[in-house]
Amino acid sequence: MIQFFHVTKKYQQGSPALSDVSAHIEKGEFVFLTGPSGAGKTTFLKMIFRDDVPTSGQVIVHNEDVATMPARRIPYLRRLIGVVFQDFKLLPRKTVFENVAFATQVIGLPRREQRARTFQVLEMLGLNHRLHNYPEQVSGGEQQRMAIARALVNRPLILLADEPTGNLDPDLAKEIMSLFKDINSHGTTVIVATHDRDLIRRMGRRVIALDHGRLVAAAVA
């Protein structure tokens, strides 16, 4: 499903964000991406949904080289991928319902389908009592779940989550992880970037560990 071949990413200043990273993630796999801050986890994720391109090497997602794909294909790649951003990226002027429905509207689903899917995913994430609230009116955990709902509403093949439990208390973090496990059990490939070692140990899934942009380990925790 996802293949990194000797991927290096250099920005103008400082050391490379990724340095000669090769990794394979199979369809339906649940993988943790770990490492300290600045290890290159976010860059790794960005390459997958083509928010960034490698300086050298190749990133293949769903049989397509993301660096060389024409610009008009990028939206269609992104429709296969749901992303939960570390900073949530919610729209403050839209309600909980609108924030999630927005993703379905963008890909041109029929209005009825938009509503049905949005209600379904919000119910699944326990946000159906918050439909008309604005992001600032809900808790951090609920904002996190809004971001997850938006990533899931288009039923992606791949789910990427960048530090999804960073702002949550342990119980809520556990709940979110169990949700990801559930999503994964339905066939979605899940990649979670986190530096929470306890969480990784508890889940017992494959780990790709990065440090200073280098791959330092790829094994089951």
Binding site: D51, R78, A103, V106, I107
Partner: protein, 301 residues
């Protein structure tokens, strides 16, 4: 509902939202296009009316071929045949010496005894030639003059070349001046509308970023901006037309208009429907161009 229709619906809704989210900015964009098109329209109106005047004058303008006293009936017949077969000549009218004298007496009744005093009839016979519309220009008239100047029995060929050239030149000058000034103002309008689009893009940058990340196509993102700019441009065009109409009516009602023939010439009629429609459509086009340039700068193209 088909996907395309849904995309169009989204485009309309978002464009409408965009226009009303900041009415002051939308008004500013429409007004700047309106002002540039108003000035362009003023020159168009002037050129249109001057052009009409030249046409009218041209219709009245004739080429006179004065004949020698000693012209033979055979030469006269040949000349008439040549005029009749010339594609540039629409009507051929022969004016005999007697007709010429009668015409003089009719046009200048106070001088009707002048021919008697100079000893008979000093007026030469002539042909009055009415020229077809397409040939009523200095070059074609020159050709006609040269062709018949040397013909047997012809004394002189005349037409009022100076006036024609000056008027055609004036219309051309007005058109060019209007176009130049219009382009200059359109440039200023492009900058204003572009700035308005950029401000809107800036205000919605978070939304645009998320749209991109969840798989919105470029057309889906740009469509509403282009449509809103086209609406602003069209509104500008309509403002310009309304302003032109009001100006025209005000000029029409002034005393100067009724007493000064020049005013009748320069502001006789309002712009024809096609020119008015083109002006409004030009506004919409200006809006779209400004939006494309601005979205390109903002990195959405």
């Amino acid at each position: 509902m088909p996907r395309l229709l849904r995309a169009l619906q989204h485009c309309l809704r978002e464009a409408w939202d965009g226009l009303w989210r900041n009415p002051a900015l939308s008004t500013l964009a429409a007004a700047s296009i309106g002002i540039s098109l108003y000035v362009l329209g003023l020159f168009l109106l002037l050129a249109f009316n001057l052009g009409r005047f030249v046409d009218t004058l041209g219709k009245e303008m004739q080429v006179q071929v004065y004949l020698k006293e000693e012209i033979t009936p055979a030469d006269l017949k040949t000349l008439r045949a040549e005029f009749s077969s010339d594609p540039a000549i629409e009507v051929v009218r022969f004016v005999s010496k007697t007709d010429a004298r009668l015409r003089f007496e009719r046009d200048f009744p106070s001088l009707r005894d002048l021919p008697e005093r100079v000893g008979g009839n000093p007026f030469p016979a002539s042909f009055d030639l009415e020229i077809r519309d397409a040939d009523r220009n200095p070059d074609a008239l020159d050709r006609i003059t040269k062709t018949y100047q040397k013909a047997p029995g012809v004394e002189e060929v005349r037409y009022d070349r100076g006036w024609t050239e000056r008027l055609v030149g004036l219309v051309d000058l007005v058109r060019r001046g209007g176009l130049g000034l219009g382009i200059l103002l359109a440039g200023a309008a492009l900058v204003t509308v572009g700035a308005v689009v950029q401000l809107t893009v800036l205000a919605r940058r978070e939304e645009i970023e998320i749209m991109k990340l969840v798989g919105a196509t470029a057309a889906f993102i740009r469509g509403p901006f282009l449509l809103a700019a086209a609406v602003q441009g069209l509104a500008g065009g309509v403002i310009a037309l309304a302003g032109l109409y009001v100006t025209h009516r005000m000029v029409e009602r002034t005393v100067v208009f009724t007493t000064n023939p020049f005013m009748t010439i320069v502001a006789g009629r309002f712009l024809p429907a096609q020119a008015s429609a083109a002006l409004a459509a030009g506004g919409a086009a200006l809006g779209i161009v400004a939006a494309i340039l601005s979205l390109r700068r903002a990195g959405t193209f």
